[in-house]
């Protein structure tokens, strides 16, 4: 360690109490920033996960034009090619084929329009949470026997129809061939869903039964894919796009959750923006704290600095030394802060803590599960640390300038 560094370090600890307070402020700010960001990241990831796991996953493969028209006319040919391509891709956590269309559901003289999704129960459970949301009865059977047609309704839909487990309801729609599709189904379960609109409109049947009902043969309307994290969704989609290049790709269309749910993404953006503003204010306040500490340190050493300058130390060296001091001050705070914040977060990463009471009710209104979760991504501590470093750099500017501009004569005169 050279002399400058050693001097700077000693200067920092010249007034231990003052340094300690400044360091404490930095630690407080850093820990708060890291924890806040990780709580926000956690809750946003959860929001996305909850949302995609009750719709079409992170990435969806469908026929070109399907998202716009939502008719059976645009389909995904289900002859093994698409399946093979998906299996080859990285970062696919799970995937599930679906046939999704409109039908009228009726019991007695009550009938309601509904969105019907034909699923493969095992695969579907890996991608979405519909299976775990069954609140009465059970989900559709994985291997329905011939002629067995089971249906699971959203709870509110069942209520509106007055349907109970075991009732026989009629599904009435339009098949791919444009003929009328008309079949009886047995209600085997109902699902409780956080989104009331979905709960009023959703009907789930087995994939094979839907294929028969809509006379779809070897076609499906979409493949819902769950990536291993929301962050990888875009990359997964790009990878799949290149895998599907060629004539197959021309028939298909890929969308990630950002395209399917832009409102959600923007809500998260706004939430983040609000939080970052608050954290910025916090960091600025801490910056002023550092500024003040260094400034006071400089001012009380006016005589000493004057002597040093008179002895021939160049102003630039003095500037550097002050900067070094403030970097060390910030550095100590950052180091301690990271030590306090990172280990617990690393342990908490990904854990879910159930919320209780009012807070739980409130999150459910938003359609989310009532849990508190943290997520630690590397950019978090890196970004937070860098921010404080930048602020410290800026804060030290004034005192360093003041110090380097000190006049030896004036300084000595204050003796």
């Amino acid at each position: 360690m050279n002399i400058e560094t050693r001097l700077a370090w000693r200067n920092v600890w010249r007034n231990p109490r003052r340094t300690a307070l400044s360091v404490a402020a930095t630690v407080f700010a850093l820990v708060l920033v890291i924890f806040s960001i990780s709580m926000a990241d956690g809750s946003h990831e959860k929001m996305i996960e909850d949302a995609v796991r009750l719709s079409s996953g992170h990435v969806a493969v469908s026929g070109k034009g399907y998202r716009h028209s939502m008719t059976l006319e645009q389909f995904v040919p289900w002859d093994g090619r698409v399946e093979a391509a998906i299996e080859k891709a990285d970062s696919v956590r799970a995937w599930a084929p679906r046939i999704s269309s409109f039908a009228l559901v009726s019991l007695g003289d009550r009938s309601h329009g509904s969105m019907v999704i034909g699923v493969d129960p095992e695969r579907e459970a890996g991608v979405t949470k519909f299976v775990s949301r069954v609140n009465e009865g059970r989900f559709v059977d994985q291997n329905p026997g011939p002629g067995v047609r089971e249906v699971v309704l959203g709870r509110k839909l069942a209520e509106r129809l007055g349907a109970a487990i075991g009732d026989e309801i009629l599904l009435y729609g339009v098949a791919y061939s444009l003929e009328t599709a008309y079949e009886l189904f047995e209600v085997v379960g109902t699902m409780a869903l956080p989104d009331p609109r979905l709960e009023r409109n959703l009907t789930i049947v087995h994939l094979d039964v839907a294929s028969e009902f809509y006379v779809y043969e070897d076609r499906i309307t979409e493949v819902a894919i769950l990536a291993d994290s929301a962050g990888n969704a875009a990359a997964l989609r790009t990878e799949l796009e290149s895998v599907f290049a060629g004539p197959l790709g021309d028939e298909l269309e890929l969308q990630d959750y950002e395209e399917m749910m832009p409102g959600l993404v923007q809500l998260i953006l706004i939430d983040d923006a609000g939080m970052y503003i608050m954290l910025a204010i916090l960091v600025v306040v801490v910056g002023f704290g550092i500024l003040n500490t260094i400034l006071m340190a400089i001012l009380e050493r006016t005589r000493e600095l004057g002597v040093i300058l008179a002895l021939g130390l160049k102003p630039i060296a003095l500037f550097r030394m002050v900067y070094l001091e403030s970097m060390m001050l910030a550095g100590v705070g950052l180091a301690i802060g990271l030590l306090i914040a990172l280990p617990p977060l690393a342990w908490l990463n990904g854990m879910e803590f159930p919320l209780g009471g009012d807070l739980a009710q409130a999150t459910e209104i938003f359609g989310m599960e009532p849990v508190l979760t943290f997520k630690l991504i590397p950019s978090n501590p890196i970004f937070s640390t860098l921010t404080i470093v930048v602020v410290a750099l800026l804060a030290a500017l004034y005192p360093a300038l003041k110090a380097s501009r000190a006049h030896p004569v004036d300084a000595l005169r204050s003796l």
């Binding site: 003052r18 400044s22 953006l269 910025a280 306040v285 003040n292």
Partner: protein, 403 residues
């Protein structure tokens, strides 16, 4: 006396005091501004919802909550809502509506929609639909309809296009009628832009075979605070046969947001002030050490410990309060400068779905000042704790020795 001393002490080292004041005022100003914007967004969401058709209070026939169908209807004869409403002075404006489901078809496409039969003039007073006409005009002549621009584009309909609405009427019979497009709405509301078709109330009543019955009454008042009062009066004068609900009961999500805003504000101010406290304490500590000799002298001359402590606390309080005042002032200036709103429409187009407008206007209430003031005072006292203690505990002899 003590006050004057504290005040002079503050300005003994103007640069240091200035830095502390800057820190405090910038921090507070930032908080005030961001809280104001946040509140503005939230209030905006609520206002948008209320003006897009929610209103402040809605009256329905009993059973509407569970079963929002045509049969659950209000007739003036059974439920004298008109006379009840006219007798409540706080009710500014009200409008009757018919709500039903149906299919609207053009030569090119057909879409399932919600049909709203309204009294054109009364509806103007309770929702922005009439004012959001982008092309054409609001309802006037019979056999006309008004729809949102997204819906119009799906049907490939323009002003004057003939659309046919088919539905099931009150008796369950299939009914259909043609209407020409009178106006197209453009509002930042998913319902208004895409899901609703407006008809004149009489046209809707005849289409659905409802006679003089309606589905709901929407009420708007000047002052949101009066809503509870109006609800009570209505409930007592309408006795039975109807459900009277406020916007809070109809859309609990909005209420939750406002509640969470308050707790969020407290947490934010607390965090910022804690960070500030370290800085203030540091400065005060410095000041106390510098004045060791002086304090020693004061003590030697007879000033009690308590008064010394009080003086330090006073200094802290003064600097904090001045900073607070400056900060709040700065924040208010910021709010005033941004009073026309921040336009985020370029990169936030899909927020319509959540009812957030693309221009964020900050908004403030007097009670929003309570949190910063209280926390500020607390910070001032707490951050002065240690320095004051040190000042008070100093022995006169030790202090004088430092000369």
């Amino acid at each position: 006396m003590l006050f004057r001393m504290a005040w002079r002490n503050l300005w003994r080292n103007p640069r240091r005091t200035a830095v502390v004041l800057t820190a405090i005022s910038v921090g507070i100003a930032g908080c005030v501004l961001s809280m104001a914007i946040n509140l503005g967004v939230m209030t905006g969401m609520i206002d948008t919802a209320i003006r897009s058709g929610l209103g402040h209070i809605q009256i329905h026939a009993d059973g509407w909550d569970d079963n929002p169908e045509l049969e659950v209807r209000l007739t003036e004869g059974e439920v004298p809502f008109a006379s009840a409403l006219d007798s409540i002075p706080e009710v500014r404006r009200w409008a009757p509506r018919l709500q039903a489901q149906g299919l609207v078809a053009s030569a090119r496409a057909s879409v399932g929609v919600s049909i709203v039969g309204v009294d054109p003039e009364r509806e103007r007073g309770v929702s922005v639909a009439a004012d959001s006409i982008d092309e054409g005009e609001w309802l006037g002549e019979p056999k006309r309809l008004v729809l949102g621009y997204k819906l119009a584009s799906r049907l490939e309909a323009e002003i004057g296009t003939k659309l046919v609405i088919s539905a099931q009427d009150l008796g369950g019979e299939l009914t259909g009628q043609a209407y020409r497009v009178a106006g197209i709405i453009r509002a930042s509301s998913r319902d208004l832009d895409d899901g609703l078709v407006f008809l004149r109330l009489e046209d809707a009543q005849s289409l659905f075979g409802m006679g003089n019955a309606i589905s709901e009454v929407v009420i708007v008042t000047e002052d949101r605070e009066r809503v509870g009062l109006i609800q009570q009066k209505l409930q007592s004068s309408l006795a039975s046969g109807s459900e009277v609900r406020t916007w809070e009961q109809l859309e609990p999500l909005l209420v939750y947001m406002v509640q969470s805003f308050d707790s969020m504000a407290w947490i934010m101010y607390a965090a910022v002030f804690i960070a500030m406290a370290f800085g203030i304490a540091n400065v005060l500590l410095m000041a106390v050490f510098e004045r060791t000799r002086e304090i020693g002298m004061m003590r030697a001359v007879g000033m009690s410990r308590v008064r010394v402590v009080a003086m330090v606390v006073l200094e802290s309080t003064l600097v904090t309060m001045i900073g607070l005042g400056l900060g709040v002032g700065l924040g208010l200036v910021g709010v005033w400068l941004l009073r026309d709103g921040i336009d985020i429409s370029t990169w936030a187009g899909s927020l319509d779905d959540y009812g957030i407008e693309s221009v964020l206007k900050p908004s403030m209430r007097p009670r929003d000042m309570i949190a910063p003031l209280l926390i500020g005072a607390l910070t001032a006292i707490l951050s002065s704790f240690w320095p004051a203690l040190r000042a008070g505990l100093a022995k006169p002899a030790d202090a004088l020795r430092r000369i």
